[in-house]
């Protein structure tokens, strides 16, 4: 029975999953009973396997947008469709790396990452292998037994990235995943993320404050503006992956983007 349903065997007949469609999305929080609009008229189509970067000033609703897509916020106007189905709550095939690491302080690094595998039908050994492999990937080998309070901010964030990657979701949302990292680790993890993305062909949407990072990784960069949060501008990064970090085309786009972000 699996032979028929296996997309690899069916080939191009089945569309690859991981498509996101957002239409006319409005979101308001209530503060003191009064509505505070945070997102207004968001329209966004993300193709399966696409890498989309989102940049924008602090408070313009980037985290809110990711929370809506992952299904943590259930009150909104408009449509959010994942593979054609309206999002009604968190689903296993859509993962999120929170802006704060959100590791459980009472669990070791290893147990925190392993908890994400609750739903996978894996043997104990396979699970252990996968956890070890992902901890090695983010450079946390040797810290398996450490508790989160014994980690630095960047190490905790890396553990959180490992926790999100290990489930291999079709759509992965990343909220400033490399914000707390030094330049070197950041560059290494960017390359790793790109490799994983290419290998798993999953859809990724990453919020970042780093314009170069946004351009280096993204097929597309979305620029948002605040109060209320809207999409102001979109840049197609028409360069094949993997990219040369200091390609002239990226430099040009960076200058353009920075002008867009700073000059009103």
């Amino acid at each position: 029975m699996t032979a028929i349903l296996n997309p690899r065997l069916v080939g191009a007949e089945l569309p690859q999953p991981g498509a996101l469609a957002i239409r006319g999305l409005n979101k308001a929080y209530r503060i003191d009973g009064r509505p505070l609009p945070v997102l207004q008229g968001i329209d966004l189509q993300v193709l399966p396997g696409e890498f989309v970067s989102i940049v924008g000033t602090s408070g313009c609703g980037k985290s809110s947008l990711l929370r809506l897509i992952v299904g943590l916020e259930r009150e909104y106007d408009g449509q959010i469709l994942l593979d054609g189905e309206p999002v009604r709550g968190p689903r296993l095939d859509c993962g999120l790396v929170f802006q704060d690491h959100r590791l459980f302080p009472w669990k070791t690094v290893w147990d925190n990452v392993a908890l994400a595998l609750k739903h996978q039908r894996l043997s104990r050994r396979e699970k252990a292998e996968r956890v070890d492999e992902h901890l090695a990937l983010v450079g946390l080998t040797g810290f398996e037994r450490a508790y989160p309070h014994q980690l630095s901010g960047g190490m905790a964030q890396r553990a959180a990235i490992a926790r999100a990657l290990i489930t291999r979701p079709k759509v992965l949302l990343l909220d400033e995943p490399f914000g707390a990292l030094d330049a070197l680790t950041r560059i290494r993890l960017q390359a790793e993320l790109q490799r994983i993305w290419a290998q798993q062909r999953s859809t990724m949407i990453m919020v970042t404050h780093d314009v170069e990072e946004a351009l280096y990784l993204g097929d597309r960069v979305i620029v948002m503006e605040p109060r209320p949060g809207r999409i102001r501008h979109e840049v197609q990064v028409d360069l094949p992956h993997p990219r040369e970090r200091n390609a002239p085309r990226l430099q040009n786009l960076r200058d353009e983007l920075l002008r867009e972000l700073t000059g009103d």
């Binding site: 992952v70 943590l72 709550g89 929170f98 959100r102 669990k107 908890l115 609750k118």
Partner: protein
């Protein structure tokens, strides 16, 4: 300070107290029947120990404590969690709960004697009552205080209910609950000794009261000191357990 000295510093204040007691008994001019010198108290302690009397009193007190504390703490835990999870339970039982918990357990002893008689039941009920309220309060606050962000992580990873309880809710609520249990145990012990003072045919409190009536102040002192030591041991044991259970916290 050298480690040895730090270790020994624990004993400084008790030794000073015993010394002061010794001096006061000898030179203070109090009648020896009222302020019994420490060596006589120790003598009485050894005698009580050898006759097996002390062990019986202690065993009786501790078994009442165990029974009442387990019942009260378990009930408090369940009730507290129910109050945290259900607005209905909170609305119907909350106000009464908060009024009742203001009544000192000791003030209820006369009433409990009327209801349950002077036998075992009343003592166990008093201990259970004294344990119930601190645990219920801690459990309710502990469960209500679980940060929502942890549940969001659990949601994103679609943790099934048993895992949600075991891996997220329980450990998140554990610190205040364990502290509540420790406080409850301390209070339960104090209330139990008080109850035994008023009405009992055995137990540490009864030993104190009987000896007072017979003017055996040395035995009274044995009872008082032991009450303190037992309470301290229980509390200290719980603290060790607390530290072991909550070693993931950065504050020891």
């Amino acid at each position: 300070m050298p480690v040895v000295l730090t270790r020994l510093s624990v004993f400084a204040s008790p030794l000073a107290l015993v010394l002061a007691w010794l001096l006061l008994a000898r030179f203070g001019g109090f009648p020896a029947q009222l302020l019994v010198p420490p060596q006589e108290v120790y003598q009485a302690f050894v005698e009580l120990l050898q006759s097996g009397e002390l062990r019986e009193h202690l065993a009786n007190s501790l078994s009442r404590l165990a029974l009442g504390f387990c019942a009260g703490a378990l009930g408090g835990l369940l009730f507290g969690i129910a109050m945290a999870l259900s607005e209905t339970v909170e609305a119907y039982c909350g106000p009464l709960f908060h009024v009742l918990r203001q009544i000192p357990s000791i003030a209820l002893i006369p009433m409990f004697i009327l209801f349950f008689g002077v036998e075992e039941t009343f003592k166990v009920v008093v201990v259970a009552k004294a344990s119930f309220f601190p645990v219920a309060l801690a459990a309710s606050d502990g469960v209500k205080g679980i940060p929502r962000r942890y549940f969001e992580v659990a949601e994103v990873y679609r943790l099934p209910l048993p895992s949600l309880v075991r891996d997220v809710a329980l450990p998140a609520a554990a610190p205040p609950i364990v502290t509540g249990l420790r406080i409850a145990l301390s209070r339960a012990w104090m209330v139990l000794v008080a109850a035994e003072l008023l009405a009992a045919d055995s137990g540490l409190g009864q030993m104190i009261e009987m000896s007072r009536q017979m003017m055996r102040i040395d035995i009274v002192m044995v009872g008082v000191v032991l009450t303190g030591l037992v309470g301290f041991t229980l509390d200290h044991g719980f603290r060790l357990l607390e530290r072991r259970l909550l070693r993931w916290r950065d504050t020891p």
